[in-house]
């Protein structure tokens, strides 16, 4: 990391340790809350909401590598915010459209005044190309009918990016979440975040609601997905580091049979192996951020590599975290379970290990 990046990470860590530690997540979970608007406003004030928004639209325009650094720090403390959905995914999509409406939306995102959710999934697995939801041409506009699930931040978002099938391809719609015909049902997620199942019953959309060009959703959606995947991978790598940090501390403190369990070589070697995995994954995350900044057209391999590694590493980190903590790690009163549940949700969102492994293989010629 560059000196600038290290500073950003330090600053983010300082803020999150104070404003959004794991205990804060526990409070929200216990209260059934999935969005802290005041916290999001603070993040916006620090330039996080506008991390990808151009400066002339009120953003901080720090780029993808910076977004990954923020996401990673958020992962460490399990901070809850619409950062990925709004500041990364929606902002990237909107940046690929050069009209005034998109510009205004970006400004509102940067200010923390408007949040977005991405509605793509229809089955249990991420599969944008397999989208079946129909947007039928109707006069000058469209009628949307169908169902979406696993819409992250979808129950509370102000606006929705909805992928639907039009006559000759896929089209991305940018519509308010309260438009007539939209029915949102919050899912009771194991990671206690905002996720919704959404029904679209003859929802009207105008040509102006189309983000990018009709039948060409991927021009806008693909970079947005890649940005989201990379940032999610970064969040998961932070999550791994957070869980690992707790685990190493526990190994140093906890005594069994009269000595610290961190003296047991079998645990030492497993902890060391896990650290190696975390380090290697960190490289893939860093690389994905750089590639998105420097050569976004060819960032697919780097992004899928990051998401695949991050998924695998986080799984190992939380499994070892629980196991090494023993019974206490299994209790709800202890935080490790939160990391395990979040890792599982992160594993599925925006493409699981297998999805991205196939992308890597394809990019590498097999």
């Amino acid at each position: 990391m560059s000196e600038e990046e290290t500073m950003l990470a330090d600053m983010a860590r300082g803020f999150l340790d104070g404003a959004a530690p794991v205990s804060k997540f526990r409070q929200m979970r216990d209260a059934g809350e999935t969005f802290d608007r005041a916290l999001w406003k603070e993040m916006a004030d620090m330039g996080w909401a506008g991390v990808l928004v151009p400066e002339d639209a009120g953003g901080s325009d720090m780029g993808f590598a910076a977004a990954n650094i923020i996401a990673r720090e958020m992962g460490k403390t399990l901070a809850v915010s619409p950062f990925l959905s709004s500041a990364v995914i929606a902002a990237t999509a909107l940046k690929h459209v050069s009209d005034t409406r998109a510009r205004d939306a970006l400004a509102k995102i940067a200010a923390g005044d408007m949040t977005y959710a991405l509605a793509v999934d229809e089955g249990v697995k991420f599969d944008p190309e397999g989208t079946a939801m129909e947007a039928k041409a109707d006069g000058n506009g469209f009628r949307l009918n169908g169902k979406k699930q696993f819409v992250v931040d979808g129950a509370l978002a102000d606006r929705l990016l909805v992928l639907a099938r039009t006559e000759n391809g896929l089209t991305l719609f940018d519509i308010p979440a309260d438009r007539a015909g939209i029915e949102r049902n919050a899912s009771n997620m194991i990671d206690a975040r905002d996720v919704a199942r959404i029904n679209f019953d003859n929802v009207e959309a105008t040509g102006g609601d189309v983000l990018g060009a009709v039948d060409n959703a991927m021009d806008v959606l693909k970079p947005a997905l890649q940005a989201g995947q990379a940032a999610l991978a970064a969040e998961m790598s932070g999550l791994s580091a957070g869980a690992f940090g707790m685990t190493v501390e526990y190994l140093k403190e906890r005594k069994q049979f009269g000595i610290e369990i961190g003296r047991f070589q079998a645990l030492q070697h497993r902890a060391a192996h896990l650290w190696c995995e975390i380090e290697v994954t960190a490289s893939a995350i860093l690389n994905a951020g750089r590639k998105l900044d420097d050569d976004p057209e060819n960032a697919g391999l780097a992004v899928s590599l990051a998401k695949a590694r991050a998924t695998d590493t986080a799984k190992l980190a939380v499994i070892e975290g629980v196991q090494m903590h023993g019974g206490i790690g299994m209790t709800d009163a202890f935080d490790m379970g939160f990391y395990m549940k979040r890792a599982r949700v992160g594993a599925e969102w925006l493409g699981d290990y297998s999805y991205h492994a196939e992308k890597v293989a394809a990019a590498r010629g097999f």
Partner: protein, 388 residues
Amino acid sequence: MTVNSRDEFRAELRAWLEENCPQEMRDGGMTEDSICWGGKNWVFTSEAQKLWLERCAAKGYTVPTWPVEYGGAGLTREQEKVFHEEMEAINARSPLQSFGIWMLGPALLHFGSHAQKLHYLPPIARGEIRWCQGYSEPGAGSDLANVQTKGEDKGDHWLVNGQKIWTSYADRADWIFALVRTDKDAPKHKGISFLLCDMEQEGVETRPIKMISGISPFCETFFTDAKIPKEQIVGTENRGWDVAKYLLTHEREMISGGGAGLSGGGRALGAVIADTVEEMDVTLRADAMRCEIDALAIGLTLERYKDQSEAGQGAGDASAMLKYMGTELNKQRHELMMSAGGSDALEWDGPLGNRAGDWLRTKANSIEGGTSEVMLSIVSRRVLGLPA
């Protein structure tokens, strides 16, 4: 047993099952709430569940290999196999499950006096008394012999004070079997007694612990001046660790069997996944195949050890292997079930029911009843003879 007598037993049993097993009890009993745990406060989920338990108990089929005088059917190992085959053939639910059957029973059969056996075993077999286990203590973790709960000798009873943790379903149990330090000056393993205690008596309280899976299968249990009569000791005073170790090997085998997914049904993981997944991706399919291979081989190993051991003797140190392999496999299986379920599996009570809760529950498998690390150390030292 000759083939002939085996075939006769099979025919007889089949006829009995056909006549006595209620139709509702022929669904394999794969879900958590189909289990009949018994006990004083048990509320049967259906008349059929009650009938099935009563009929089996009358024949000794809740504990088929226990002697008839203690409530069992006195089946040989061979007959027991036939029993399970026939039960599985009609997809019959297990009539009763309990820690009394899996853990306390074998220990009593081995260490208990004849009077104790007559007193405690039949109510276990009939599902009248539900037991829980009081081994672990806060902070002790894997060091099970690190027992701080103390029993003061008061002539005809011990006065017990202390705290137990991870007492499974203690909030629903009638009695507890517990390790209590009855000689604080003796070496760690030599001052522990194995005591039986009525949980309704004064001085015993219990409090459920909420787990990451959202449920509370474990409790903390507190003893405050609880009086335990001297006749409620199993085995010799201050030699309770021998009973505890013996019981632990049975516990391990039990967890292993459950862990390997070998109880109930026995459908292949891949087939279960294929029910809901259109086409398995290569990673999922490769992992499911390996899991299936391991599950079958571990199941065969459990059977092999049962065959090898004397009736009721258990697998000894090798139970550590069974426990380790079974529980690690079960964790892996549930990881794959989650992967197969995709986003539907990420909700509490979502379209796939309690899949996430079941998955999280399995993470305790490799901790409870001795961690995987302890199991490997047991194998390393006692089986391989590597230096400590």
